[in-house]
């Protein structure tokens, strides 16, 4: 063998040994995690016409009263929600949080509130649970949910109040909404519950409706 090849071989052996001798101390850090949140949008404002919704300038879709845009993943943090009518606000989409941004009616002369309704952490499995929220500013609601003769939930909810989740069996339930202290049934809805469920009371002084969503 030619001496120059021998020397080259020795040099390569030395380099190989050098490389093999090094502990695995990476020059770069691990891939930084992405922190996300999952949010949807619900239109609960009788004073707001159909609008387009954008998050950080990216169009998400069009919402009309009692309509919803399905859950979608967003970078966690403070996200700017902008409506096509020029209204915009920042909403805290906390890391790993699944929730709903509810467009509420604007009180006279005040800024419209983009209400954040939290559901669960994005990686938690949904439970079969039920809750009720009141987004009718003209109503302090008395809510009753029954399954046959059994009352599952009876609660009074002020505007923007949200009941706790309660575990329920799968099946059909009847939800009735009255004004607190009144006897007139303002709205009823049959709830078919198979998973995590939120029923929202929407409307104004003239009308009350129930919108149910699966969380």
């Amino acid at each position: 063998m030619h001496p120059s090849r021998i020397r080259l071989g020795i040099a390569m052996l030395a380099c190989t040994a050098l490389l093999l001798g090094c502990a695995d101390v990476p020059a770069t850090g691990p891939t930084p995690p992405e922190f996300n949140a999952e949010f949807r949008f619900v239109h609960a404002a009788t004073d707001l016409a159909s609008v387009q919704v954008a998050v950080d300038g990216i169009q998400q879709g069009t919402l009309a009263f009692a309509g919803e845009l399905a859950h979608k993943q967003f970078p966690a943090g403070s996200r700017e929600i902008a409506l096509s009518n020029g209204e915009k606000q920042f909403v805290a989409m906390s890391t790993n949080l699944r929730g709903t941004v509810v467009l509420l009616p604007a009180a006279a002369g005040a800024t419209r509130e983009f209400f954040r309704l939290t559901e669960r952490r994005i990686f938690d499995s949904p439970q079969r649970v039920l809750r009720v929220a009141n987004f009718n500013p003209a109503l302090e609601a008395q809510v009753t949910i029954t399954a046959g003769a059994d009352t599952v939930l009876a609660t009074r909810l002020a505007y923007k109040a949200v009941s706790n989740y309660i575990p329920v069996a799968a099946g059909d339930y009847l939800m009735e909404v009255k004004a607190a202290g009144g006897n007139t049934v303002l709205a009823t809805s049959t709830l078919s519950i198979a998973a995590s469920h939120t029923s929202m009371i929407l409307g104004d002084a003239s009308a009350t409706t129930i919108k149910s969503v699966t969380d």
């Binding site: 850090g29 952490r121 990686f123």
Partner: protein, 1023 residues
């Protein structure tokens, strides 16, 4: 002196005829004469057999062979008309002269060629300082295995708590060289390289007084040179173990620690007879590397108290039924002297390749090593430093990987027979990482419940804790054990240098002249702090989750966001530089970037050797640039509060230090058997990198006022530490077989690093802060005695004894931290230093039957007995209240604020230490193979040497707590009564001070008792 103002051309002209690393060669010189008449034999030929090295005698019959690689040679002299004379077993040592005279008989005389076996001189005639050498052949006979253990036997050296202290210098003041290349880790001053004993040709210890070609270390230098291959192939395989019984079991009265060592060497020519190689590889596995006395204990599930070693497992606070059930199911039984999760696996490769194409010789030598070991410290803040704290979380014990590489490529070009020059290139790389065994380098996942679930670890929820309620520790009788599933910390660093040099050496008459210089450019990086209790990965993940927008902007490189994110992470990356917050290497300038200190040196040296006088004088110029900065006005630090860092443009670059160090050594060989030597020298060394560098988050933290009692303080523009040393010695061979050397020294050490506090201007927003400054000083004196008995009638012996006195204002940079924090005066009076052991020594006796001596059974049988002895080291008796400390720490006085000294600093001494070590070996021949069977016993008598004591009692077995109701009564009652007492005894008192390291010192891993008896058996096969 402003180095920049010196024109480079002048420097080059004056000092740069050559560049050189420390030499790894010696020389042979002598005279060739007619045996009958004594007349010099002009042109007589001297040859080193098996090599192409040699010389011709001059008009006076004198010859010199320069640049001889260290080793053992056969030297032959011949001349026409005369019979050859061969002297075998001639040893050549680094930078020393081996004198060899020949008397040739005329051919007319009726005698055949003469062969003489050289005896190693008992007195070295030309060493101008105390130089101690050991070859592998020397120390393979003694009952220690590691090179460090042999170094610790030498006069002037103190081994204490894992550090080596030479002549009263701090442990970072020792310089290490391998193959002539710097092997000292600039970060902490320790030896960075592991050498296989079987690969060593020689190591040499110069406890001060070394010549001008060495620098960067004030106290002493340790030079190691690897073997070279010969003309014939040679191999050895060797194994050694104590792994004869199970963990916690005894064999011949000693516990097994699962030690296994495999070593192999191979050497010889490589394809071409001019190319020779030597390779050595070693694997060492230690199952229980924390070798220590420890009485075991057991938590029982019966709920009954049995005795001090068997008691029920009951939780005190942080109650969690799921966790408790889990722990109950797992249980704990710890056997005697068996520390779990304390393994180490190490691979080492050493080697040399020499291409001898005279007049050009090229030599590549170096060492590679890799090791993986269990970290012995846990992540829990309260019980840190305790081996026991990890007991419920052993399967998630932190792992540490470390690799080192040191390569040196040397080309020597001979210019005739008496001059040569050398070119050296060297490369050093050291990298270390500590990590979680399950999630490895992905530190973002350490506290992520989903990622942990993927590894089979169930977190209670996603609240950044493995257990309900944020529990990362479980309280059992007041002792906080790390909860199962708790992740480890993450830490990584890299440092290394690239060096180059060139050198010229010439022998002119009686002068050996050397001119040289060397240059090293280091790169140092450090990521994150694994300091106690920070669990920074948890804090960082939490900060990112809670502040994802800042996190994202920081990731995108926004400096303001990066600063904010660091702060949100709890300023947990105070030690980070050379990496960004996310663990990526960066190459920016300033305090965030990697640091590039460089060390440049020039020297000139002349060794004049006459018959009755040797003068070794030299001058060294060191240029040390620490790549450091300081503040224009430390009382008004340039704190960038908004960005949680420093105003980089207001930092003042520290100028390179330029130091001139004269060296002078004299030897007076009065007779062949008597020599005096005198030495004077000035020495300088740069500060450790660990005393210089922290990241921007560190400065933000200290200006905010968050540095109380922290020990990772760094300096601002530190200067080199300086030493002036005087040495006088006398060597006397007083019989044919015995000699002694008596050397006295005096050292004055200045500008050692000490902690100080900067009081800030009232107008500054910053708080007062701690920094390191040059301030400590020390004076050390001592007398070293070596007595050597050359083998005679089977017996050889060696006695080393040192009497020393090491006084100073501080033993370590942080010695005065308690005084600083309590706004007291820093000591400016000298006291005994922590490592001052007034008397220490070793005595070795070797009784050995040579080949053919003593019959078949006894021939080649040897026994070696080694006694080590040492007086104790200083400590300060103190008292104090329980204060705010954890119940597990009991009587230890952890908090200096409640500690009151009962005497002057370091006025007491720990007890004397002794140990006896034994080695038995026998070699048998099997054909052409030699089989050496051996066993050695360390600490033969299994003596419990008290190496540290509790300050309160001066005792290693009693910390003065349990027997003092005023101190312990309420604590015992509040933590379970008798079981608390038992657990306290099991861990603190019977556990060899398991908590001691944390509480009494700043050093993790200290023990109260020295190592127990260990027996190892080995076999070595060689060809």
């Amino acid at each position: 002196m402003n180095f920049r103002k010196i024109p480079g051309s002048i420097l080059a002209a004056v000092l740069l005829p050559a560049l050189l690393l420390a030499g790894t060669t010696g020389k042979i010189k002598g005279k060739v004469v007619d045996r009958e008449t004594g007349e010099p034999l002009l042109n007589a030929t001297i040859l080193l057999v098996g090599t192409s090295m040699g010389a011709a005698a001059d008009l006076n019959g004198e010859y010199v062979v320069v640049n001889v690689p260290i080793g053992v040679y056969e030297v032959r002299a011949s001349f026409i008309g005369y019979r050859e004379v061969t002297i075998t077993n001639v040893r050549v040592n680094s930078d020393l002269t081996t004198e060899l005279d020949f008397s040739l008989p005329a051919e007319a005389l009726e005698i055949s060629g003469v062969s003489i076996v050289a005896e190693r001189p008992l007195v070295n005639q030309n060493a101008t300082n105390a130089t101690r050498m050991q070859s592998y052949e020397d120390f393979q006979k003694i009952p220690v295995r590691s090179v460090n253990a042999v170094i610790a036997l030498q006069p002037g050296v103190v081994a204490q708590d894992g550090g080596l202290y030479v002549r009263g210098g701090r442990s970072d003041e020792v310089g290490y060289y391998l193959e002539g290349a710097n092997a000292r880790d600039a970060d902490n001053g320790s030896n960075a390289i592991t050498v296989i004993p079987e690969a060593l040709e020689e190591f040499q210890i110069q406890a001060g007084g070394y010549t001008a070609e060495f620098g960067g270390a004030n106290a002493g230098i340790i030079r190691q040179t690897l073997k070279s291959g010969g003309s014939d192939y040679h191999f050895t395989v060797q194994t050694e173990t104590d792994n004869l019984v199970d963990r916690g079991e005894k064999f011949l009265g000693a516990y097994s620690y699962g030690y296994t060592d495999y070593t192999a060497t191979l050497s010889g020519p490589l394809l071409d007879k001019r190319v020779k190689f030597f390779l050595a590889a070693q694997n060492i596995f230690e199952r229980d590397r924390a070798t220590r006395f420890w009485q075991g204990f057991e938590f029982n599930h019966a709920g009954t108290y049995v005795d001090d070693h068997n008691f029920p497992l009951v939780f005190t606070t942080n109650r969690d039924p799921v966790l408790e059930a889990f722990i109950q199911q797992r249980g704990i039984k710890m056997k005697d002297n068996a520390i779990p999760a304390a393994s180490r696996n190490q691979w080492i490769g050493n080697g040399t390749i020499v291409w001898d194409a005279r007049p050009l010789i090229v030599r590549l030598g170096g060492s590679l090593s890799w090791r993986r070991q269990d970290d012995l410290t846990g992540p829990d803040p309260n019980f840190y430093g305790s081996l026991a704290a990890r007991l419920f979380n052993l399967d998630r014990n932190q792992i540490e990987d470390l690799s080192t590489a040191l390569l040196n490529l040397k080309a020597t070009h001979l210019l005739g027979t008496r001059s040569f020059y050398e070119v050296n290139l060297n490369y050093f790389d050291r990298r270390e990482v500590r990590y979680d065994p399950l999630l490895k380098h992905d530190f973002w996942a350490y506290w992520d419940s989903t990622a942990n679930a993927g590894k089979g670890v169930t977190f209670y929820n996603d609240n950044l804790s493995p257990w309900r309620g944020g529990t990362q520790s479980i309280d059992i009788y007041g002792f906080d054990f790390t909860a199962p599933g708790t992740p480890a910390n993450y830490f990584k660093n890299k440092r290394g240098y690239i060096g180059g040099s060139l050198a010229f050496s010439t022998q002119h008459r009686s002068h050996e002249l050397k001119l040289g210089a060397s240059y090293e450019r280091w790169t140092a990086r450090s990521f994150a702090a694994d300091e106690q209790g920070t669990q920074w990965t948890r804090q960082q993940l939490q900060a990112a989750r809670q502040n994802p927008d800042i996190y994202r902007r920081a990731l995108a490189g926004d400096p303001a966001a990066a600063g904010a994110f660091r702060t949100l992470s709890g300023a947990s990356q105070r030690l980070t530089y050379g990496y960004d917050t996310f663990g990526n290497e960066i190459n920016s300038d300033g305090p965030e970037g990697p640091r590039h200190p460089y060390y440049l040196s020039f020297y000139t040296q002349d060794k004049f050797e006459a018959r009755d006088l040797v003068i070794n004088m030299g001058l060294r110029l060191d240029v040390m640039d620490n790549d450091d900065f300081t503040f224009a006005d430390p009382s008004r630090p340039p704190w960038d509060r908004a960005n949680q860092g420093l105003f980089v443009d207001q930092l003042v670059k520290k100028k390179a230090a330029v130091e001139l160090s004269p060296r002078l050594g004299l030897a007076f060989p009065v007779t062949d058997r008597t020599v005096f030597h005198l030495q004077y020298g000035k020495f300088v060394q740069p500060p450790r990198l660990t005393d210089l560098y922290n990241g921007p988050a560190w400065y933000d933290a200290i200006f905010t006022g968050g540095t109380s009692f922290r020990t990772d303080v760094v300096g601002l523009g530190l200067d080199p530490e300086k030493t002036t040393q005087y040495e006088v010695g006398f060597s006397q061979q007083f019989s044919e077989v015995a000699a002694f050397d008596l050397t006295a020294y005096y050292k004055n050490i200045e500008d050692q690093i000490q902690i100080s506090r900067i009081t800030v201007d009232p107008q500054s927003p910053a708080s007062d802060y701690n920094v390191l400054v040059n301030g400590d000083f020390a004076t050390t004196t001592g007398v070293e005695l070596s007595l050597t008995l050359r083998r005679t009638k089977r017996l050889a012996g060696q006695l080393n004894y040192t009497f020393s006195r090491s006084l100073g204002t501080g033993s370590a940079p942080n010695s005065a931290i308690a005084g600083i924090e309590q706004v007291q005066e820093i000591p400016t009076v000298i006291s005994p230093l922590d490592f001052n052991r007034p008397q220490r020594g070793s005595a070795s006796v070797d009784y050995r039957f040579a080949r053919g001596d003593g019959g078949a059974i006894l021939q080649n049988l040897g026994v070696n007995l080694l006694l080590n002895f040492s007086s104790g080291h200083p400590y300060t008796r103190s008292e104090g209240e329980f204060g705010q400390q954890d119940a597990s720490l009991g009587g230890q006085i952890t908090d200096p604020r409640s500690r009151r000294p009962l005497e002057a600093v370091n006025a007491s001494l720990t007890p004397w230490n002794y140990d006896i070590n034994l080695r038995l070996d026998k070699t048998v021949a099997i054909g052409q193979l030699g089989l050496n069977l051996y066993m050695y016993v360390q600490n033969l008598t299994n003596r419990k040497n008290v190496v540290n004591v509790y300050r309160r009692t001066g005792n290693a077995y009693d910390d003065g707590f349990l027997n003092n109701p005023d101190l312990s009564g309420a604590i015992i009652a509040a933590n379970g009564g008798q079981p608390y007492v038992s657990l306290y005894r099991a861990i603190n008192l019977n556990g060899n001070g398991d908590n001691y390291a944390q509480s009494e010192t700043d050093v993790i891993g200290l023990q109260l008792l020295g190592p127990p008896r260990q027996i190892r058996f080995g076999a070595k096969l060689e060809f």
